[in-house]
């Protein structure tokens, strides 16, 4: 089995402003993201030899991408819950690595706010609802399934309710601080620990600021053969590893599952570190974008990705290790907390920030001298989810 490392480069990226984009339809968001990427790469739409479009709710089939007016090239629509955007990247990158095309577009989009509803709807397929709503018409909410992680984590490590709430709050405070520096983010408000702790509860222990918002957005990447990359730009970004790990309902069915880690994250990280040759992620990864849909997930992801030792997230949160000033800045663009979560777009939005960081173009959010950057998504929930990790770097080798 060969590693994907250094076979594919990213030569252009685009990302819309995320938020309640009442002004924009799916087609506007797609055009905004794609054309920023074309311009960034210095290519034209006609240069695309294939495209992958990721969306969960905002379109079906290749026709989702029709607004770009691409001329009869192969287009594939992909869906993999919250990892959908990253899945589009995988499709495009593997095609380039396989040599079936030299240059391809990966784009993700989600237009959630047109529904007029608060929240994201569950799976539309009857008989495919993990909470059984197709059978009995009720069940727990998405935040609840992530609240389970918090309740258990606190119990497991003997963290009392107040201390636990404060730990989660610090994650939200950090991401809001980062997001305040990012004009593309949905939310720009700086919050305090007290505000986050006292915010209304959504699903104990998760309060309002522990839950990401619902927004519209799109992000795009243009990938090409690594050996061609410098023809397009002097600072291409190289894919070092891409991995996905899918659960098989172990979390909801096996009492052995402990709710203080997520296997999908761990297995995806193990694969991607092997591909990228990363031995000590805490030291070797310069910055990361992780799936902070709910603060409990970010808390556990620190440990699942090997950034903190088991049970050690608390110490790292309290020391500020993952802030812009820390040794491993995480969610430097504001994360899902500030961008919201247009499902199909999020993975590529995270990659956009890591791409800019590695190119030294992240402005006030710029981390010092980065070499390797990581993105992480978790779709679904623990034991019934999709863990996805991508590592990119600004140098070959």
């Amino acid at each position: 089995m060969e590693s994907i490392k250094d076979k594919v480069a990213i030569i252009g990226m685009g990302c819309t402003r995320f938020g309640e984009r009442w002004d924009a339809g799916v087609e506007d968001l797609l055009v905004e993201a794609a054309y920023e990427a074309f311009e960034d790469a210095g290519v034209a739409p006609k240069d695309m030899q294939a495209a992958w479009i990721g969306t969960v709710f905002s379109g079906m089939s290749a026709m989702t991408l029709a607004p770009l007016g691409l001329q009869f090239i192969p287009i594939t629509r992909v869906e993999n819950m919250c990892a959908t955007g990253s899945e589009a990247l995988r499709g495009a990158a593997y095609a380039v690595a396989a040599g079936v095309c030299d240059i391809a577009l990966a784009i993700g989009v989600e237009k959630l706010k047109d529904s007029g509803l608060t929240g994201v709807r569950g799976p539309a397929v009857v008989g495919d609802n993990p909470d059984g709503s197709a059978c009995v018409g009720s069940g727990y909410s998405a935040p609840a399934s992530f609240a389970y992680l918090g309740t258990r984590y606190f119990h497991h490590y003997g963290i009392d309710r107040d201390e636990g709430k404060e730990l989660l709050a610090k994650i939200a405070v950090k991401n809001h601080q980062h997001g305040s520096l990012n004009p593309k983010a949905h939310f720009h408000n700086v919050i305090t620990v007290e505000q986050a702790v006292k915010a209304p509860i959504v699903a104990w222990p998760l309060g309002l600021f522990d839950c990401c918002g619902v927004s519209d957005g799109s992000a795009a990447a243009i990938v090409c053969r690594a050996d061609m990359a410098k023809n397009f730009r002097s600072d291409p970004i190289y894919i070092k590893g891409m991995a996905i790990s899918a659960g098989a309902r172990q979390g909801s069915m096996r009492p052995a599952y402990d709710y203080v880690h997520i296997d999908e994250n761990v297995f995806a990280a193990q694969q991607v570190y092997a591909q990228a040759g990363v031995k000590d992620p805490r030291k070797e990864i310069s910055c990361a974008e992780v799936h902070d849909c709910f603060s409990t997930n970010e808390l556990i992801v620190y440990e699942d990705l090997g950034f903190s030792k088991r049970g050690g997230a608390k110490e790292d949160i309290n020391s500020g290790a993952f802030t812009l000033q820390g040794d491993l800045p995480i969610n430097t663009d504001g994360g899902l907390k500030c961008f919201g979560h247009p499902l199909g777009a999020s993975g590529l939005r995270m990659l956009y920030e890591m791409y800019k960081q590695l190119q030294g173009k992240a402005g006030p959010r710029q981390v010092k001298n980065p070499h390797l950057a990581l993105t992480h998504n978790l779709g679904g929930n623990a034991g019934a989810g999709i863990g996805c990790v991508v590592i990119v770097g600004n140098e070959k080798g």
């Binding site: 495919d128 059978c135 009720s138 959504v202 309902r249 009492p255």
Partner: protein, 467 residues
């Protein structure tokens, strides 16, 4: 001999007091309180709870007769839903006895007939949730409750020595198919010309028929529309106060078709071997029975069942009884349950059947809508034996206090249950005290109403704390 072999009762934990009703209407509230079914309960779920208690240690009944005047469906049998939740064999004869307050005692007599005709045992469930209109005379009087009585021929709690029934075409209380609330004739007329003479006659005629006197009975147990009617019958018949069974109307209210049977169970729980009990139900006539006590039932008593109670406010009552239209949450709608998916999962939905892997021995529960064909533990395919979870206790492994969970008793509580003996389930909890929710809390399973969509009542199992 034929008689009662086991009893069970279920009184929902919620109470609405006369005082709270009075506060609502700025009137002098009545004394006492009434039992109110939770928002996720109905006559079927309450009957299941009573039946499961009654069936403990008993053989499977060959008939299940379910009595109620408030079945959730007009067309679709309630008894078969109760029987399926109780995991009875498909050859069990099921029938609904309905449309009369006398349905409870009539079902009991039918069960006696079934055993006489050769059935090893027959189970009777009686359950009612009648509604009095807000501000009306029945609002505080009608309560919710259920009970179950097993009729058999061996190891009796009480033998049945005789019975006597009359019917009467008398219009005192009624609901047409379109009425949500009880209707009734003028108060003194229906009492003086209806209930009182009918009940007096059945009691005295039954005593006469069997050549007995009031002194031959340790207890007399009979239905009455309310406490006042009950007292006036007791006075006129030559029974001592001590002989008359308390109807519990000021504690749980008048539970309709279940009321007389619930009183009978309470009487049996306090009786001594050899006691004779005169028992009568009323509604469109009367049924009377003479019972001879053999031994007291063991297990929970009425006092235990009434111990854990929670008083609710009038707003909750309106909401739970669906007497108030409220703004739906601005959340995405969940897909309507699929009849086909429910049918494929019926063993899991009805009696919480999962399976045990023959290869690795791990008990597992099918996630709803997703039948498991491959063992989650060892990946063996289709090598399972049936394993029931509804009768297993468990512990709360982790949980969320969920503001977004669809519940009429917010906030919701849901979590991960690890069953004693193996197996895990993510499910809603019900009848909880939020302050006591904690990791490791012991729970048991309870059959509840999850939602009602497109006119289908969707039942499933929730976890509830073991009190």
């Amino acid at each position: 001999m034929i008689g009662i072999t086991s009893v069970g009762a279920y009184i929902p934990r919620y109470r609405l007091s006369g005082e709270e009703i009075g506060r609502m209407w700025r009137a002098k509230g009545g004394k006492g309180e009434k039992a109110v079914a939770g928002y996720d309960e109905d006559t079927i779920t309450m009957a299941v709870a009573a039946a499961l208690e009654c069936m403990k240690g008993q053989g499977a009944p060959e008939a299940l007769y379910h009595a109620t005047t408030t079945a959730p469906y007009k067309e679709k049998q309630a008894a078969s839903i109760v029987a399926a939740a109780c995991d009875l064999d498909k050859t069990c004869r099921t029938a609904d006895f309905t449309n009369s307050l006398r349905a409870g005692t009539t079902a009991l007599l039918a069960a006696v007939d079934a055993v006489k005709a050769g059935a090893s045992s027959a189970l009777v469930t009686a359950s009612d949730c009648r509604l009095g209109a807000p501000m009306g005379r029945f609002e505080s009087a009608l309560g919710d409750g259920a009970c179950a009585i097993m009729i058999g021929s061996t190891d009796l709690l009480a033998s049945i020595e005789g019975s006597y029934s009359v019917f009467s075409e008398f219009t005192d209380v009624w609901r047409t198919s379109k009425d949500n609330f009880l209707r009734a004739g003028e108060g003194r007329f229906i009492e003086e010309m209806g209930y009182i003479p009918a009940m007096r006659e059945i009691l005295s005629d039954t005593i006469k028929k069997y050549s007995l006197t009031p002194a031959d009975f340790a207890k007399v147990v009979f239905y009455a529309p309310d406490g006042r009617g009950h007292a006036s019958i007791a006075k006129g018949l030559g029974f001592d106060k001590a002989q008359v069974q308390d109807p519990m109307y000021d504690v749980i209210g008048n539970t309709g078709a279940a009321a007389a049977l619930i009183m009978l169970i309470a009487a049996l729980e306090e009786a001594s071997p050899g006691d004779r009990i005169l028992f009568a139900g009323y509604g469109d006539g009367c049924d009377a029975l003479i019972l001879r006590v053999e031994k007291r039932p063991s297990g929970r008593t009425m006092k235990d069942r009434l111990a854990a109670k929670v008083n609710i406010d009038y707003g909750s009552y309106l909401l739970w009884k669906e007497l108030l239209e409220v703004e739906p949450p601005n959340l995405p709608e969940r897909p309507a349950p699929s009849l086909a998916s429910r049918w494929r999962m019926h063993k899991t939905i009805s009696s919480l059947y999962g399976f045990k892997c023959r290869k690795c021995g791990t008990p597992q529960l099918h996630p709803l809508g997703q039948t498991v064909r491959v063992c989650v533990e060892c990946q063996a395919k289709d090598d399972f034996e049936s394993y029931k979870f509804s009768d297993k206790t468990g512990k709360l492994f982790t949980y969320a206090v969920d503001i977004l969970q669809p519940t009429k008793n917010p906030p919701g509580l849901n979590g991960v249950i690890d069953f004693d003996g193996g197996g895990r389930m993510i499910c809603e909890l019900t009848d909880y005290d939020l302050k006591k929710a904690q990791v490791g809390m012991p729970v048991q399973m309870t059959f509840r109403k999850m939602s009602q969509e497109k006119g289908i009542v969707n039942y499933f199992w929730k976890a509830k704390p073991i009190e």
